[in-house]
């Protein structure tokens, strides 16, 4: 059923508009939000693979030059898109479920932002048109800012405005890069651009091509929160509501991989491209972990760890072989799920104690044993302990860097994993195991059942991917073989 491909983007957008318009009627908007949220992962799983040409404009073959042109926006839907859209859809469903159960009176604009963000990352994954990607990139930035500003945490407005100012510098620069590519090739369709670059229609040594790489790369750094944007990215995670942060980090990961895959297809002939990606990824890994070690606010700590994990994804893609890119994409999928688990779990702690400073917490193991157990497994998965999913992807990354002849990188990756483990155990100890401080009040506060349910579902996926990684890696490997 190829007709379902555009519906993956259209349904959340229509739902967002309807809920925002009918937010006066509380029950209707709750039911609508719940039904659409359930549909999100189901559509992705039910749809068939294929291409969708908007407006029915099929590619045109130029008889004189023998080149095929794509006159309209094209969505391509393969296994990679399916698995990532299903993961985001599932996460969006869990987040919306937590939100609906938490508040009696739901806010239409907030649900609008959640659905709009989900729709835009879906479109970014599906699209084969670089300007279309840019438009949804901007919508996503606005949705992220809105999700941060809607939280009740102190100084969330300041953080949102700061993120937005940085974003409005970053995205025109990316648009300038797209403009350079358009000037070189006369097209915004990525397949056409790739054809032009790989068949010598564009001089890949020309400075204009290099400048366009630099500008789009800058936009990518901003979108994915790699250095120099790591501080602001972890800042927005810590200022959003915990369930919002769980969704925000999945938006970051997906915008990162969708832009980097496009850049990889266009610029893979340039040597400097892979060097740049590996350099910034290693920087992100080291900075993320070392900054996480110094934090006392545990939301901020998870934010920095999430940025450090992004470095692993970039590393896999930067190494540039089929195996390493598969490992990087598998790591991206794992990170979406594991980091969401950690954000929701620590959010449950914030819910129960109203305290985010690790120095003032302690002894929560006896009050919330279920949350403690699930968080422990999530943290171990992030650090890469067998038989969980983080272990499989990190093992693949280490093997990939050894195969490419960079043992230094594999040693570094192992060291960063160990450091991640240390950071996590330190925070875990001070929250759950340390004797309870006298002035901490934890009586009579229950963790919402929906949060436990969401964590359990995510945990099942983590264990499943850890035991049967082949379910995903084979399909991703086929996809990667197609773009190399």
């Amino acid at each position: 059923m190829n007709e379902l491909i555009p519906l993956m983007v259209i349904i959340p957008i229509i739902a967002a508009l309807l809920i925002s318009a009918f937010s006066k009627f509380n029950t209707i908007s709750k039911i609508l939000a719940f039904v659409v949220a359930i549909c999100l992962p189901v559509i992705a799983i039910a749809s068939n693979y294929g291409l969708h040409y908007f407006g029915g404009y099929e590619p045109i073959l130029d008889n004189v030059t023998g080149i095929t042109y794509h006159p309209a926006i094209v969505y391509s839907f393969t296994f990679l898109q399916q698995i990532f859209i299903a993961a985001t859809g599932l996460l969006a469903f869990l987040v919306i479920f937590i939100y609906l159960a938490k508040y009696r009176k739901v806010s239409g604009p907030y649900l609008f932002l959640l659905f709009m963000g989900t729709a835009s990352v879906t479109a970014m994954l599906l699209t084969d048109d670089i300007f279309h990607l840019f438009v949804f990139f901007e919508i996503l930035a606005l949705a992220q800012v809105g999700i941060v500003a809607a939280s009740s945490i102190d100084y969330s407005y300041e953080m949102a405005l700061k993120y937005m100012i940085l974003g409005s510098i970053g995205s025109p620069i990316m648009l300038l890069g797209i403009g350079f590519l358009l000037a070189l090739t006369g097209s915004v369709n990525i397949t056409d651009i790739v054809y032009a670059v790989h068949n010598g229609l564009v001089d890949s040594k020309s400075p204009v091509f290099l400048i366009s790489l630099g500008l789009i790369f800058f936009g990518w750094l901003y979108a994915s929160g790699l250095p120099p944007f790591h501080t602001i990215k972890s800042g927005i995670y810590s200022k959003a509501e915990p369930h919002g942060a769980a969704l925000l980090q999945s938006f970051t990961v997906i915008s990162m991989i969708s832009i980097v895959l496009i850049m990889f297809r266009i610029y893979s002939s340039l040597q400097i491209f892979e060097v740049l990606i590996v350099f910034f990824s290693i920087l992100a890994m080291i900075l993320g972990v070392s900054l996480a070690l110094t934090q006392t606010d545990f939301r901020r700590m998870i934010g920095f760890l999430a940025v450090g994990e992004l470095g692993f994804i970039g590393l896999g893609i930067g190494l540039g072989t089929q195996f390493s890119i598969t490992a990087g994409l598998f790591q991206a999928l794992n990170e979406i799920i594991i980091t969401a688990l950690l954000f929701i779990g620590f959010g449950a702690i914030v819910n129960a104690t109203n305290e985010v400073d690790t120095r003032k917490l302690g002894g929560l193991l006896f009050y919330h044993p279920k949350v403690a157990l699930m968080l422990l497994i999530g943290g171990l998965a992030m650090a890469g302990v067998p038989p969980l999913s983080g272990f499989q992807s990190k093992l693949m990354l280490v093997q990939a860097s050894l195969n490419c002849g960079y043992p230094e990188i594999s040693i570094l990756a192992i060291m960063v994993s160990i450091a991640t483990f240390v950071v996590f155990v330190k925070t875990y100890y001070s929250i759950f195991l340390k004797p309870k401080p006298k002035d901490l009040d934890v009586e009579n506060k229950q963790v919402p059942k929906t949060m436990i349910f969401a964590m359990a579902i995510l945990l099942i996926i983590v264990v499943l991917f850890g035991v049967y990684p082949d379910v995903v890696t084979n399909g991703i490997s086929n996809f990667v073989g197609g773009i190399l």
Binding site: Y157, A160, L161, M164, S168, I169, P172, I173, L182, V188
Partner: protein, 128 residues
């Protein structure tokens, strides 16, 4: 004239540099936001200049025009379509940022970025 296209490229570069300068170095938040809108305008101008053809015609196919003559003489319309979207995105981003500024002004009573957007972790320590 190719002169026009070159001059337009210079203008767009100048706008981008003015915008970047003000977005990074000017302390007043409203001027910072105006600088950001100048960056956007510069980029839009650059993309329109890509599609421009010196001595060409407006890319609208009127009845009675020969299609092959039209295609060799008209400007390239694809960049124009992109710029339309980009202008609207820029305006909406600007509006959202100004709304944030209005809210934050009530809290701080100043438009200075140094006060308004200072490092939040320091502010939290100060509160304690």
């Amino acid at each position: 004239m190719a002169q026009t296209q070159l001059a337009v490229l210079f203008t767009s570069t100048a706008l981008i540099i003015i915008g970047l300068y003000s977005a990074i170095f000017i302390d007043n938040i409203i001027k910072k936001i105006i600088g950001i809108s100048f960056i956007e305008e510069g980029v839009n101008l650059f993309i329109v200049a890509i599609g421009y053809k010196s001595g060409g015609i407006v890319p609208i196919l009127m009845p009675g025009m020969d299609a092959s003559w039209f295609s060799s003489n008209s400007a390239y319309p694809l960049p124009f379509g992109l710029v339309l979207t980009s202008i609207v995105i820029g305006a909406s981003t600007l509006a959202v940022m100004l709304a944030f500024v209005m809210v934050l002004y009530k809290r701080y009573g100043t438009l200075s970025t140094k006060v308004m957007l200072a490092d939040t972790s320091k502010k939290e320590e100060y509160d304690e």
